[in-house]
Symmetry: none
Subunit: 230 residues, 2 copies
DNA sequence: CCGGGGTATAAAGAATTCGTAAAAAATTGG
DNA sequence: CCAATTTTTTACGAATTCTTTATACCCCGG
């Protein structure tokens, strides 16, 4: 997936961090850095990365300890870096929950390939539910299917795009301009007209009444939102 | 997993096989062996292992080729062994679908730890069947065969590639661009009419009607998907 | 009471997209 | 090297979808 995966790098040596950051960013990844184990764990909880690159040689706490604490709540793949090549170290790290172990110095190409391999097996699909249900209405973002009372509703591209966009933020208002920019492109950000027509079609197909909405409610002058009962 | 995981070892050198077998069996794994690439792929389809250990230096066919064919239908983790330590080799294998790469000679403890790491992450990965059946239609990804009412359907490369790609996500929409990128390459991601023609051929051979589809349904403006009862 | 901004619906015309056929070019396998 | 198959190119009608244009609505404030 060329989706911008986020990678958290925990390493105390600034030059290594810089080296990794430049390499990873050049591949299109988003990179977050931490210099200590404690900071790393905070960042991990905060940014919810898709991959953790962890150097075992940290000043404040043992790398193994960081790994252990991280694994208490996350299954995100971990790639461990270390200068120590001792086999016992590797075994400990791998059995402690690491998914791969690379010994410094390493080739950057191999490193990037291992990063790709780790990201490949762990689709970040877990992050948000792909199935939104509002009473009789069910929106399956993964399968791109919408059902009403179990019956599939045939939606056109734009119709589905609008509904899906709303479904990604259930209960929250999505701005007209947001919808227009995302679906029609930035050039049509002002043509709120298009939106009304498409929303109208969706409502018709869902049997929804704008004056007494079951699903899509209009926020005048702002945008639309899905009703927020789960 | 202390459940007896099955590990398939593909290596032409008997002493390496023996070494690995003894080590793995002592850990409680069930081990299946193959000396050649062809035999290995057959065994893989037959025994459905939980992990594949593949030596790249095989006599009958290129290890990369074995890896590629295996990945056509299976997502089971693959650990690649090789005497060659060249970085380009590693990158190729890892990008070709391998999950880890160990250079000979290696420490057995590290090897076993990497095996554990690969098996650990595996079980949650939905064990995707290599055989997809939709009523009278049967798609065998391992043997690259498609049968309709028990009769084999002759498909060309592209035709099979499209159908197989759809079969990997049964019921889910596969984007036109996804199909084009994966089968024709990134340069043809816009030539959606290739797709229409090939899909047309497949439908013809399967006796499928686009307006009342039994198998392949078209999602206008988006892509195609196999009907989703399973 | 009346007008205006924002909204909802309907119905045209324009532009895509889809499916099929058939010819030309490239690939495959003997 | 040749023949057969496969893939790519080219073309066109039909159906759908999107855009445009037009009209009526509703709530609020002047």
């Amino acid at each position: 997936m060329s989706q911008t995966a986020t990678i958290l790098v925990i390493d105390d040596e600034p030059q290594i961090r810089k080296f990794l950051r430049i390499s990873l960013v050049s591949q299109g990844y988003k990179v977050v850095e931490a210099a200590t184990g404690g900071e790393g764990l905070s960042q991990a909880a905060l940014t919810q990365p898709d991959l953790l690159v962890l150097d075992l040689g940290l000043p404040d706490m043992d790398g193994q300890q960081v790994l252990r604490e991280f694994r208490e709540w996350s299954r995100v793949p971990v790639l461990v870096l270390s200068v120590r090549a001792s086999e016992i170290q590797k075994v400990e790290a791998l059995d402690g929950g690491a998914n791969d172990y690379v010994t410094k110095p390493f080739g950057i190409q191999e490193f990037l390939a291992r990063v790709r391999a780790l990201l490949r097996q762990a689709p970040q699909g877990e992050t948000q539910p792909a199935l939104i249900s509002l009473g009789p209405l069910c929106i399956d973002l993964a399968y791109r299917r919408v059902t009403l009372d179990g019956v599939e509703v045939a939606l056109t591209r734009k119709e589905y795009a609008v509904l899906a966009q709303l479904a990604r933020y259930p209960g929250r208002v999505v701005t007209q301009q947001q919808l227009l920019k995302d679906i029609w492109g930035p050039t049509h950000a002002e043509d709120s007209h298009y939106l009304r027509i498409v929303v109208g079609h969706v409502r018709q197909k869902l049997g929804d009444d704008p004056t007494a909405p079951r699903f899509i409610v209009t926020e005048p002058g702002v945008g639309y939102r899905l009703v927020g009962d789960a």
